[in-house]
Symmetry: C2
Subunit: 634 residues, 2 copies
Amino acid sequence: MPGSSKLYGYSGKILRVNLASKEVKIVKLERDLARAYLGGRGLNVARLYYEVPPGVDPLSPENKLFFGVGPVVGTGFPLGARLNVTAKSPQTGILGDSNVGGHFAPELKYAGFDQVVIEGRSDRPIYLYIHDEAVEFRDASGLWGMTVSKTYEAIRRELREPEVQIAAVGPAAENLVRFSGIFFNRSRPAARTGLGAVMASKNLKAVAVRGSGYVEVAKPELFEKIVEEIELEVFSHEQYWPRRVMGTSRILMAANRIGILPGKHFTEPEVPYAFNVSGEMLALKYNVKNRACFSCVVPCSRVFVVKRPGQAFIGEGPEYEALAGMTVRIGNSDLEKALKAVETVNELGMDVISVSEVISWAMELYSTGALSREDVGGLELEWGNMDTVMELLHDIAYRRGFGDVLADGVAAAAEKLGKGFEVAFHVKRLEMIQADPRGLKGYGLGFAVSTRGADHLRSEPFIELSDDPKIGLKMFGVSEATLRLGVRGKGRLVAYYENLCALVDSLGVCKNLAENMNILDYEKTARLIEAVTGMGLSPARVEMIGERIVNLERAYDVREGVRKRDDTLPRRFLREPLKVGGSAGHVIELDVMLEEYYDVRGWDKKTGVPTARKLEELDLVDVAEDLRRRGLIS
Amino acid sequence: MPGSSKLYGYSGKILRVNLASKEVKIVKLERDLARAYLGGRGLNVARLYYEVPPGVDPLSPENKLFFGVGPVVGTGFPLGARLNVTAKSPQTGILGDSNVGGHFAPELKYAGFDQVVIEGRSDRPIYLYIHDEAVEFRDASGLWGMTVSKTYEAIRRELREPEVQIAAVGPAAENLVRFSGIFFNRSRPAARTGLGAVMASKNLKAVAVRGSGYVEVAKPELFEKIVEEIELEVFSHEQYWPRRVMGTSRILMAANRIGILPGKHFTEPEVPYAFNVSGEMLALKYNVKNRACFSCVVPCSRVFVVKRPGQAFIGEGPEYEALAGMTVRIGNSDLEKALKAVETVNELGMDVISVSEVISWAMELYSTGALSREDVGGLELEWGNMDTVMELLHDIAYRRGFGDVLADGVAAAAEKLGKGFEVAFHVKRLEMIQADPRGLKGYGLGFAVSTRGADHLRSEPFIELSDDPKIGLKMFGVSEATLRLGVRGKGRLVAYYENLCALVDSLGVCKNLAENMNILDYEKTARLIEAVTGMGLSPARVEMIGERIVNLERAYDVREGVRKRDDTLPRRFLREPLKVGGSAGHVIELDVMLEEYYDVRGWDKKTGVPTARKLEELDLVDVAEDLRRRGLIS
């Protein structure tokens, strides 16, 4: 790459849009940043770190919103269509970051941009229309208040451009619900960490993009060879057909079998009605077609139809998180009502994981009497009462009554009410996903240490579900590492997959390929990077890029106040053993795992702060300097 | 049941047809036989034991052919549409028995019969048309020589009855190929042990059946409840969707992963081209629709289309055995050619497993120089030469040249040529299936002891593939029992599943439900029997029926000369460790497993003959008496 004038795999330009001044700047992608962070998530966090100083109010004009795309996107690489959205999170006050598939990311690349930086705040509702290098600020006052799909349809009607790709926010974001998301093509949300609220706080209702360019790879023959190899592995993978038929919704039955469902707010790890709300049932009764992301060969998204007389509706998905969230987590066994609820959450523009936590948290407190009917504004908050849930979804999105109490997230709700702290299931103020970590201990460690709070998508140690000691022994030298109830080796496992996740999020590749089907390792990724960008890096150097990104994110969080005390899990998972099911008797032995993790990371075991030595080893010399200046490292 | 006048679950009648005298007798089903053997396979072997004395020439008029149907068939029970065909085998000289799905079995029940006994030999080619209690002997001289599908179409045209079900034999059976089968509705063969030759030896080209009756169950409410429970388990089973998309063809990739493919006659347990000939590839490129057996909820059969210009063809299947047999076993990596070969085997009316062995055996001898090109009639018998294979298939079916050498099976071929004995892969003269038992040791034991020779369908210890020690511990008290490379506990495992197979084959239930998805255990089977027949039996009594059937079959084989020395495997599997793949380094420790098996069975460890005590314990007093009279037990 040094000496070469062209940045293969990249569009080579960054778009900076100032919504206050309506100024548009198109600048060259910095070669050194591309080399150090690749693109997407890595490029976004680098810019966030350097451009958004600590202490900025996430909903103020000083926060910035980054859309980043990696070099693999738009090349035709299978499962390579991911976009990363980044900002300071209004929900957690630390790194806000969400990753999404679909068709927006390649379109942005074809328009000519590897990254869009959105700054300032517009004085009135607008949306952006990027077509190639032209950027229009278009009036969105007529769109304000519209649901996600209405917005989508209105913009498509207005632009008369059939291939335009649209990212929009719904009413929840407009009302600054702290867990509102940005929705791409209606049903693909970048929903975690409240980035929808950041976008809406800037009076930006949507971003539409259309491009006519292309992306050139450095070594076309090598690239074709890798694509062929990867496709062969995908098609011949034992998960290929189940994923194609059910997507991630297939996980619900598996989670029931091993007793890790979040039933009734993590009190029922297996439920008798699992099949009725399963991906199998969706496939049997409701799915009508599959839908794939751009250039993907595993069409894992499904369009479903519910043919209820007079109330028929069509939707897309749901993925496992939404499915389990609107069924077992809130004690609901009615699949059609769950599908309706998921559609509603999407239409209002919220993160279904956080929604499922705030509602199931309130339901648990209501069931134990800690919250009375008056406390919740007269709602009947019994487990599985879907009439109440539907009402509450709107109340949250429009910040009405008890909905307003929940609209800032579960940590804030506990603070407002002064109760329910122990059963508020979040880490660093981000709500926990639909897997009980007592039965998936690597996931538990991953939740505790993730740079954006409690979820699986920062490490996704899916290999743990194989429960195969031979793999653990081979990959990490510890057979327990890949046993889901094992403890030893989990630090190594999580760090390995955290680095890999950071890497693929920065390249623009889907985690279903890398972590879930476990097809991309560092060696293959190194070859892929070489084929696309021309950079010849060893597998170890490639892993180092992932490690660099994770460390930069951690440094960002540290600068915002995160320390070892925040790397923890709610008490239930640490102290109360599961009572029934395939993981009965288990809690998480977090301390042991955390110690190993800090060891592997080279972070200070007392504070959880990356050491200067580690940062410098990762070429983050200026970051070490910055933290030192602030007295955070010595 | 005693005291009740009606036999619930049964049609209640037996049809006896004498092809020589053209005499038809309709007699009542014997209540005591139904009670002791249920139906299908059990009822067939009972009648074989008592009606066909030892020493009878299998292709003489003295042999009898039994079509038996179990009580569950025709009730609407899911995966309950199996028919059992039995006779003395012309291929092995012992028990001949094959089990088949489709729509024939319920149709026979609706015509009024639980069993058809075919005796004697017609003086000219005929086919039988059974419509309710009317039986017609129809001229088949015009059909003689026709392939399976031509025969099927000709009979349908002639009878003008759209719902008629047809079992027919092809040219191979007419030419008394010892591994020719009976084909139901074109592509569902009862093909093992050469029953097609038995049928053709009687000048019987086909049996067509049409019924207008129904089957009444004893306890309809209990029955409905069980059906609901079973369907729930089926739909929510992790194998449901893979089975639905790929049927058993899905096994090929799994077999490759664990290194048990029969590549090039069991010398290549994994092959680089596995995906190209896999069930996944079939589903991706060729399958156009699914097809189910009567009342089945897992439509696991697939209709495929090969769109080769000028040579397009449609077919059904193939299952794993056919797929692996016409690809890896003979060194062929061309899927379309394999599909054509499987269709040809079906059209000619042969057992694809035996075909794959005789051809791959000859190819191995050819490759080592043990057979010269002259020895094989000038054929070019290189691995994977599909032109030769297509030629040879016809030569076998029409007994031409080297094909005639192979047409009596691999054991006979080695005897005729005086070579290749050690690599003739059969047990008791029945050719081995497409799984290398060195990597599936329970299967290996199953092959060695099976009452019809080397295959998996007498025990099908599929649970071994789970490789889960917890299941073994729970079911058999030995964790190794369900590890595929384990040795201890295999005797118990195989006996358990042999009894269960005998039971479900006698009830008319599919092994995909009982053994492969592992949904039917003895407790559930007891409830099912009660619901259908009204018999209230404990799970232990129900297992005893299975055990009784296996012992009666063994007694039949013993009467025909089988002893412990026949319970073995070809040398390669006992002495030569696998060199590569997921089971590398392994052979089968047969002696240890066999000793445990005899122990569990209560058979004489020196001779392998069931003890009088065991036979009497199973109410087989007259069988014990018979064997004693013949000096076979003391």
